[in-house]
Symmetry: D2
Subunit: 338 residues, 4 copies
């Protein structure tokens, strides 16, 4: 099954390069054939690092390339709908990074286009392929804590919000940027959809955004009620100085499960100040390096073996709906039904 | 300063006996002089265990006893107001267990009575005296995580809710029974009062209560906005089979702090099933044994040295207000302002 | 059973005051009646802190005091034999701190005297009463790791060796001062006696001792073979800057058990340097405060209920034999049989 | 630098396949060109899995293959000398698995042959490339614990000793099979060579070997003195049921460092038995998967950039000397100088 699926990665930013490096080596059944980036220098740098010669400035060129069987879409969220719909119409399978899109309507259009084009659409919630999370989910499914009562998850990232994020209407805020993963994880672990959310947000670390963007928040707390009655709690933050902190906890009728760790290695040092010191996880790239690889493998597997991918377009859609409901709740101060 | 303050403990249940044993030995400046319990057998058993001879069936007898300088009130919540007001009028100092009362009005009356009677009123939030929590609070105050952005706290207890708790209007529910501690801890760590809460509740473990008490909840998730803008999250549970689980987390502008542990000892065993196993904390009595002793010491210190106690009646009042706001939010599905 | 056994504590140093404070309050069946210390100021300070009026400059005065039913011997090791033998002859029960004595001969004389005097002799290996160690031993006995193959234990203490310790012939060195506890713990967990030891020592932290005391060591590594064939490993250190570090590990035929922790509290802080920081245990006084209390309780229980104490004089003797064998091995470079 | 160095892996057992899979994809500058295994079925299975067509039954065929620039030797230890010397004479670079050989003489011959043949010789102590160990070593070098006083390391593996290991004279026992890694790690962390060792061994888990092989041991404890005076302790075990347990600890003049963990994932589950449960590491293949990849990368880097490899032939030689000294100590009951 080696070498069958030609991959074009659209976007050569940090996450784009993770996928590109994976497909450049070590993903059975696929090979990286092209990089797409409208910025010439970024494109050239990516090709150089990857030892690749085919670079396109426009994603449409990649879609026209018969060597390309699938695209990985790692561009700004607002461009996802256009690219994914075009890819589907060109008959290219799609691995689309999160958040899927800005609105539920966009997501629905993307799903419909992929259905019409008979191409696979997988969403980039890589925690579904992170070893510890997979192990945790298997334990939950095996009844380790009884019935799921409450799922808590948080993601707090060190990346300082960039000015384009300040306008929540345009960026969908931290709920989209960091908590999309928690939203998907909650749905995955609860095995259920969100019925209602309530969220509060505040700007604690970006004083420069306060005047022009009073609605901007860099810290958010959200409560969720699932359709079948379980509870959820999510919190998120951007620009935390300390680490990349992603942990999840499931309270069941008969137990509790924790997954995720702040500690980055097994090294513990105690020096003359009598303090135990260990390194914290600094980046999602370190924490989820293996998960991205497994995600890319799973995508290739679905395409080559003609199976429905996980997470699906619907998982992407539900996350976008939750993000938007959360943002509406923050804006109105009221719980919002989905 | 030995032997100055005579203590009567009103109520010989589990928490009552913790206080009684403490005052029976090892609290400088105080001595246990009487136990009060209307149930003769319980009273007799307590006196026997404590090696004490003075037992009263009615708290008023203890208040009339000149050897009694202070009372520790460890009776059902609904009786607190009457007992504390009477104690204040009798000139007896008061250490009152949590929750302080059923309503804010009761709390206000208790505070006023203690003010009028010129007696000290301390509330039984013993986490304020738990070594790890004290250490954590000192670190927060020293700026270890920057400004406080979000305080999360949860308490999940193994005690199965008893039928008298099923009627939330009469019991105030888990928010009162277990989460009073989290509410006080949030206020303590944030250094601020609650401005608004939103809570959801559900009954996941007590099917026998569902028919007659559809409003009963044994699991709750609450979001808090503080007056000066910080965020809070609390969750609580009763009847969890697994442990007594009380952990708190503070997210700041520049870091994070965690306090509380599920692990009850340093013992780790790995046997032939390749699983690492450690014992979990089974009871608040184990976890907070030292904290109760420090709390009792602090109370005696405040009385003897004529200092205002911590936590105060106002801390008790604010917690009751938050409990009631949370219950109203659960009932109405809307956020509730305090 | 309250108030039966009058206790005199001989020696008002750090460990002496721990015992004295315990017996001054909270040990059922016993009461502190006298402190012994030849240094008048130290004695006076101890009496003042303890609220006690009976202080003796000479242990013989305490032995002559009819209110004294038992003595706790917390004096320099070289004085133990004389005091314990005299106490036994005076009919006083003895709780003797570790190391029991300087030589096996002294130990044998002490045991014989206590037998003749029909008094109880308990040794001060308080780890036998430390909750985590007790729990670990129970798990081993219950077969949690199968048959015991290897017991490892170490004690590394922050106390800087004092000049009187430099002469190993007079002090018996760190093997006596800190590793006595490990030796006893190994025998306890293996349920067996030492057959042979091999040890190496070195002076790494006390350059000022090197010239006059080339044999002084502040770090030691010892290998043990038990009579029935199990293995042991001990290491010890004095003057480590970092913590009081006492951990034990048991390898069995089917598993492993770890007990003891460097971490002093559940508080973990991660600040802007992305390092997880927790406080380390700074002193055996913190770590074993509860163990000392249980040890003192157990001693009183044995005396009042006429049961043989644990650990016994023989446990003290075997530890001294192991210390001396270890020191001989260091000196000769050869394994030494016991 | 892609595709320059052709690799033949000699031996298709578990470790052989790890190297083969690495070189088959993802190691820049190298490509797997051939597998060598005298067993036809094993060879065929390896080729099939690797998608490779070149398989040799005799290593000499690989050495004669001009496409082969380097060999990875993953055969039984007793064959290492012959293969490595032949490879060196054929001008092929060598990555040789541990233990390097059975005797110091063999090692010396191998080193000399590689020197004469001007080929690189790297030893397969992959812990030198394990992320946590590298981080730990960097901290030690940066002075995190002061001067190194004592290095402790152990490896306890779940693999049940196979009958060919029972004859220590032929297998060199667990000291060679599992503790070679600890020996190398001690030298690496101490930055020094062994001066003297003392070891004891016993057979606790393999009763079937006792009669014919009374010298066989499956558990070993070894004490080490380094040339410049530091101390070392190693223990090792085979056939432990519980996990693959590899941990290292460095005591310095001013601190302590721990590296290695029993816990295999961040998942912690607490169910209704109030026990915290996490999975333990089951195999070195899981634990060191990344380390093998880094080791293979480093080997290719040394060859292509003409740098001396780490660890070197001399590191392999010193480990073999320590293994043999340890076995002699076990046999004679005496410390053995190196």
């Amino acid at each position: 099954m080696l070498g069958n699926l030609g991959i074009a990665v659209v976007g050569s930013g940090r996450a784009g390069m993770i996928h590109a490096r994976n497909f450049a080596s070590g993903i059975d059944g696929a090979r990286l054939v092209a990089m797409v980036d409208p910025v010439a220098e970024a494109r050239a740098a990516a090709l150089r690092e990857l030892g690749l010669d085919r670079g396109y400035g426009d994603y449409r060129e990649a879609l026209a390339d018969p060597a390309v069987g699938a695209v990985v879409v790692v561009t700004p969220t607002a461009t996802h709908r256009e690219i994914v719909v075009a890819a589907a119409e060109a008959g290219k399978h799609v691995l689309c990074e999160k958040p899927m899109a800005m609105t539920a309507e966009e997501c629905t259009a993307m799903i419909a286009a992929c259905d019409r084009g008979r191409v696979r659409l997988q969403l980039g919630f890589m925690r579904r392929y992170a070893r510890d999370f997979v192990e945790a989910k298997a334990a939950i499914d095996a009844g380790a804590v009884g019935e799921v009562v409450l799922v808590k998850s948080h993601t707090r990232g060190p990346s300082v919000p960039q000015p384009w994020m300040y306008d929540i209407a345009k960026s969908n805020g931290p709920l989209a940027e960091v908590n999309s993963h928690d939203i998907d994880a909650l749905r995955w672990f609860a095995g259920d959809d969100f019925a209602e959310v309530y969220a509060i947000g505040g700007n604690y670390r970006c004083p420069e955004a306060r005047k022009e963007h009073p609605d901007f928040y860099d810290n958010v707390a959200m409560t969720i009620r699932f359709r079948r009655g379980a509870q959820g709690m999510i919190d998120g933050a951007q620009g935390v100085g300390y680490a990349y902190d992603a942990r999840l906890e499931v309270v069941g009728t008969r137990g509790v499960l924790l997954v995720g760790a702040l500690q980055a290695s097994s090294v513990v040092i105690c020096g003359s100040d009598s303090r135990l010191v260990s390194p914290a996880v600094r980046s999602w790239r370190d924490l989820f390096a293996d998960a991205y690889r497994e995600e890319d493998r799973a995508f290739v597997g679905c395409v080559l073996e003609d199976r429905p991918p996980t997470p699906s377009g619907r998982d992407g859609l539900e996350a976008v709906r939750a993000v938007n409901a959360g943002n509406r709740s923050i804006a109105t101060g009221q719980p919002v039904k989905l």
